[in-house]
């Protein structure tokens, strides 16, 4: 089960028509899908649409009631191929994934789908992971829409606008026989807002009808000569139909309260930021009444030439807000204006930025330079927002400087109790004996290994491609194999074939570590084939080691508890020094602690309340024996293992300490042993509701220990002054 549960929120999907729905973007999209009569939904998790998948999973009952089929697809390619059901039948289908990485994976299927075209509405909801908070390379989904001739929606970040775009997206897809991409920007997914609901619709045509009355049309299949015909269709029929639909339905919005002879064109997704910029410059109010006309592109591909020409007419200049690069839309509009012999001058990247996010700062500064050029009298120069002031102005919001040495970066890292941490602790220890290796990393929480304190991993080539990323390093003369990492999520996504199968076939001498934490953990703890949990709607418990042996791996070992650091270290040494040809696969298994804690903590609390014997563990460090060299931190990096001022009156440097957030995972103890660290670590065990035996044995032990302790204190007497003994105890 996923890390975050939407079991309660999904009940909102049952809200009847005409009521105000309050919630997050992802819930609104799900509601919109139901309101559109969707027949089937698939997708692959990944920020920012991970929670959309979780919502759909938790809403499975509601979906089933409406006759909607939902799948957790094996990959984005699988999800995209699923849309094949809309090619021959009037079935509406929707898929979702993270973009551009997911779109990269899906693009083979998407290109085939877009070539033959669709009968039923096909909606591809891409979570555009761009700008601050993004975890991937900075690229645009726009290119995919252009290259395959799919239409791209980029609605205003407003729940009503997003819900509408889902609904007209299906209609547009059907009207133009083309799959439609709906771009949900990073912040829109978790945007909390409201909209007025409509009735959920049961699909009119069912999958059963399709399956029992199969249809085919060879002209829809991508094979010559049909493939050549598809290209003509795209340009001569589907595109004109789409343009007609977009114009007729007025999907793009012209907001022209003001009658200025210059205007603004913006991608829908940037609308709120642009309006905020105008408001800060005193050119619009909070309701969007603007002195400058604004043309909002809720469809960013195709650009409607007629609408652009109409908007540009009688205008001296236009400012285009198009985020990211290359500047596809700007080039497109330049071409439209030139062909129309329009006189309006187009600005965009010249006053904004070519690369990077269009933050309020970038947008407001761009607006200011633009308006200064065409109507300087509109600008109240002595009442400007602080952000547009010169950087050296004392009024500038960043006038107060703190250096990087004072405010450190705080990148994400392994959680307290993360079972992946000991894998890298063990590798660090193994490498003390075997020396360093080239390490090909993968996508997932385990990629945090590249950061301090581990500093392990040289490249990452994509999800599930850790092993493939090591393929180039084959040299019979090398004394050392290469080391590759892969998560269980990436393994089932494609790594089994692209990595393991490839290494077997090419007799690759690599050591592959598959990090098996029982979930697709980095994306929010979704179940996968090898998950250990029972999932009522999915088939789980398919072991990874069996899969790798199935494709021909001879040397495979599963370590079922990553906390056995010494065992794992020895396994690493074995694998790294093995003379066995072909890939050596280590499956390092332990459940993701976020998910485990979420499951077990309430159970333990309940048991304790019910009077059952419950054991709680945590670690500690003796401040008197810790000398403050922090070597324990350098092989752990746990958030709960920190530093604190040295209580020793003679020492200055801070000592290590265990914070109360410690979950007693055991790594500190294991590391203290495996790395022969220091004797400062201890484990505390607190037993709630002890049994009669517990109490009996404890009272005997306590009596014995107290007797010896009073002897010890007698021998130390006379060192501390009498009065302050109590103080010292508390210190």
């Amino acid at each position: 089960m996923a890390e975050r549960s939407f079991k309660e929120e999904v009940q909102k999907l049952r809200i009847p028509a005409g009521e105000e729905f309050h919630g997050e973007g992802i819930l609104a999209v799900t509601k919109a899908l139901l309101q559109s009569g969707v027949s089937y939904v698939g997708g692959y998790q990944g920020a920012p649409i991970s929670h959309l998948m979780d919502v759909l999973g938790d809403a499975n009952d509601i979906l089933a009631e409406l006759g909607v089929h939902f799948e957790n697809s094996a990959s984005e390619a699988t999800a995209a191929a699923m849309l094949a059901a809309s090619v021959n039948y009037p079935l509406r289908g929707a898929i979702t994934f993270k973009s551009t990485v997911g779109t990269n994976v899906a693009s083979d299927a998407l290109a085939n789908l877009a070539s033959g075209g669709v009968t039923g509405g096909a909606l591809i909801i891409v979570g555009e992971d761009y700008g601050e908070g993004s975890s991937i390379m900075q690229e645009r989904s726009h290119a995919f829409a252009m290259k395959s001739q799919m239409w791209l929606l980029d609605p205003r970040p407003n729940l009503t606008a997003i819900v509408d775009s889902v609904e007209y997206g299906f209609e547009l897809s059907e009207y133009s026989n083309t799959p439609v991409m709906l771009e949900l920007r990073l912040r829109s997914c978790h945007l909390h807002g409201s909209f007025i609901t409509k009735e959920n619709k049961r699909p009119t045509f069912t999958r059963k009808e399709a399956m029992e009355n199969p249809r085919r049309d060879v002209s829809r299949i991508v094979l010559p000569p049909a493939s050549f015909m598809h290209e003509q269709e795209k340009i001569n029929q589907r595109m004109p139909a789409a343009i007609q639909f977009i114009k007729d339905r007025k999907i793009n919005e012209m907001i022209s309260n003001g009658k200025k002879d210059f205007g603004i064109i913006t991608q829908g997704g940037l609308y709120n930021t642009v309006m905020r910029g105008l408001q800060l410059l005193g050119l619009a109010d909070i309701y969007g009444n603007s002195e400058i006309p604004v043309y909002v592109l809720n469809v960013t591909y195709p650009i409607i030439a007629d609408e652009v020409e109409e908007f540009a007419k009688d205008k001296r200049a236009l400012l285009l807000f198009e985020e990211g690069q290359p500047d596809y839309i700007e080039q497109n509009i330049h071409s439209i204006l030139r062909k129309a012999d329009a006189t309006a001058k187009l600005h965009g990247k010249d006053v904004l930025v070519m690369a990077g996010e269009y933050t309020p700062t970038v947008v407001t500064k761009g607006l200011l330079s633009f308006v200064r050029m065409y109507a300087p009298d509109l600008i109240k120069e002595n009442d400007l927002p602080a952000i547009v002031l010169p950087p050296d102005s004392p009024e500038h919001p960043m006038a107060i400087k703190l250096t990087q040495g004072e405010v450190h970066m705080r990148p994400p890292g392994f959680c307290t109790g993360c079972p992946e941490r000991p894998i890298f602790s063990a590798l660090k220890l193994a490498e003390r004996e075997t020396g360093k290796h080239h390490v090909s990393a993968d996508i997932g929480c385990h990629l945090f290994s590249i950061l301090p304190p581990f500093d392990i991993g040289a490249t990452t080539m994509g999800y599930g491609l850790g092993s493939a990323g090591a393929a180039g390093f084959q040299d019979a003369n090398s004394e050392k194999p290469v080391l590759a990492f892969m998560g269980d999520g990436g393994f089932w996504h494609n790594g089994l074939t692209s990595g393991v199968g490839n290494a077997v076939f090419n007799e690759s001498n690599q050591v592959l570590v598959v990090v098996d934490n029982a979930y697709s953990a980095a994306t929010g703890g979704q179940d996968i084939l090898s998950s250990a949990a029972d999932n009522p709607i999915r088939s789980t418990k398919h072991p990874i080691e069996r899969a790798v042996r199935g494709v021909g791996v001879k040397w495979a070992k599963t370590v079922t508890n990553t906390y056995k650091v010494d065992e794992l270290r020895d396994t690493f040494i074995d694998a790294l020094t093995s003379k066995e040809p072909g890939p050596k696969v280590i499956v390092a298994q332990s459940e993701c602690t976020l998910n485990r804690t979420r499951r077990e903590r309430p159970l333990a609390a309940k048991a304790e309340k019910e009077g059952k014997r419950v054991v709680r563990e945590r670690y500690g460090i003796d401040p008197e024996t810790c000398t403050g060299d922090h070597s324990c931190i350098r092989i752990s990096g746990c958030p709960s293992l920190s530093i604190t001022a040295n209580p020793d009156p003679l020492r200055k440097e801070p000592i290590a300490t265990v914070l109360s957030s410690c979950v007693g995972c055991g790594l500190c103890g294991e590391n203290a042993h495996a790395a022969a660290l220091c004797p400062s670590f201890y484990r505390t065990q607190v037993i709630s509701n002890p049994t009669a035996w517990d109490r009996f044995i404890t009272s005997l032990r306590n009596a014995y220990i107290s007797r010896l302790q009073s002897g010890i204190e007698r021998r130390y007497a006379g060192i501390e002054p009498e009065a302050s003994t109590a103080e010292l105890v508390s210190a």
């Binding site: 991970s50 909070i286 602080a386 705080r410 980095a522 103890g669 607190v686 010896l708």
Partner: protein
Amino acid sequence: MTQATQTRAITMAILAMGGEGGGVLADWMVSLGEHSGYWAQTTSVPGVAQRTGATIYYVELFPRTADGAEPILSTMPTPGEVDIVLASELMEAGRSVVRGLVTPKNTTLIASTHRVYSMMEKTALGDGRVDSDTIIENCMKAAAKFVGGDFAKIAEESGSVISSVLFGALAGTGRLPFTRKEFESAIERAGVGVATSLNAFARGFEYAQNALKPASTGVPIQIGMKPVSVEDTKAATDAAIAADPTAAVGARLSAQAAHIQNTYPASVRATLVHGIKRTTEYQDVKYADEFLARVASVYALDLAHGDGSFRLTNEAARYTALWMTYEDTIRVAAIKVRARRFDRIHKEARAKNEQVVGIMEFLHPQVQEVADTLPTALGKWVLRSKPVNALITRVSGNGIKVNTTSAFGYTTLYILSRLRPIRRRSLRFNEEQLLIDAWLTTVMDLASKNYGLACEVAETQSLVKGYGETHANGLANFDAIMAELPRTLVAADPVARQIALRTAALAEESGEKLRALLR
């Protein structure tokens, strides 16, 4: 703020770390707004940021009007235009200043001043901590109003999480047009841990109200209270000891304390008192006398060549005491069996009386450490004897877990702790005394030639610490730097050179940087 005059949204940013409840705080704000007749919008950046990294949540509120017109709210904060910033930790507060979210024109900054150390601060071999005061000063400079306090402590005391305290402090500032009851209702509606959250909320509320209470001058007080630091406490204790050394020791050391009071200047007394107590606890009063004898020779030279600060005496005394009480098995055992340690652990585990507490030690005595503790001849034999070596490695090679709360485990450590009398005859004791004297001789030799360098050489001893491999590495670095001394002495700036060498040794574990400097 009334509906008629308000033209801009109320803007609020929350800076937190993954897992700290920043999302819960944002949800409360939305619930508060929506139930008080406001449009509410919140956005966050989900994804990997939830895994302990820095995260920003952003909330905008705008009053609803009769015509139902929907305002256009921003999904991102604009630097310079944020009304309220809540930061769950001091460095995050610093980050909000760096990002321009906090401005003297309009921002109320509510920040917890406790520290969650960054990886860079934690992994340093020495002290890598950032100065809290610098950040606090800048927060005060940057904000229109700054409510800073150790909210983590308040949260812990009230059995809740920091988000509840911050929400209470937000209400307490009176910056939002909502009543206290409306705030509390938002917590109640969320329905999770309501009682403890409300308790923490109340503490935060009061804290902010007091912090912003106008003083008699009518100017709002801006409190930047940070947690009381151990360093401050130490300084106060040391001042008291310097004033009256005899009051700081028991009967067995009263003669030594009186001697310290009569012979030494106030600036070194506390260090000496700590030194005699430490050496006596470690060995015996005679050992404390030996410590004082060593310090006396340094002090004589300090009087002759020093600048009156007695820095040399202070640092030499500090590191002599630390070196004389080197970390051996007996010391570790003696600390582990003390009653005060048991008390501390009970407190730390928040164990209630009816609960049973067990303590498990993770020990890893190596052949060298075992031999170190034995009488010199026996120790040497152990090191030479292959079968004994193998035996020790077999028993403790993968570490030993000792249950100190069991009779057997406790007795084992107890016996070890009582080996104190044989320490003087042990292999390591004699070796360490020779090393200490050699180092002190060098320090004293330098006192007349270059006082500053002598002080730095005294401080170089701080490299020798830890156990096993860490200790061996530290000692090797120390030896290398000491061997370099003849060349350091003739360097352009010997003091700077010595500091550079020591810093390089602490820069990273592999010793690369130090080796590069020594090349």
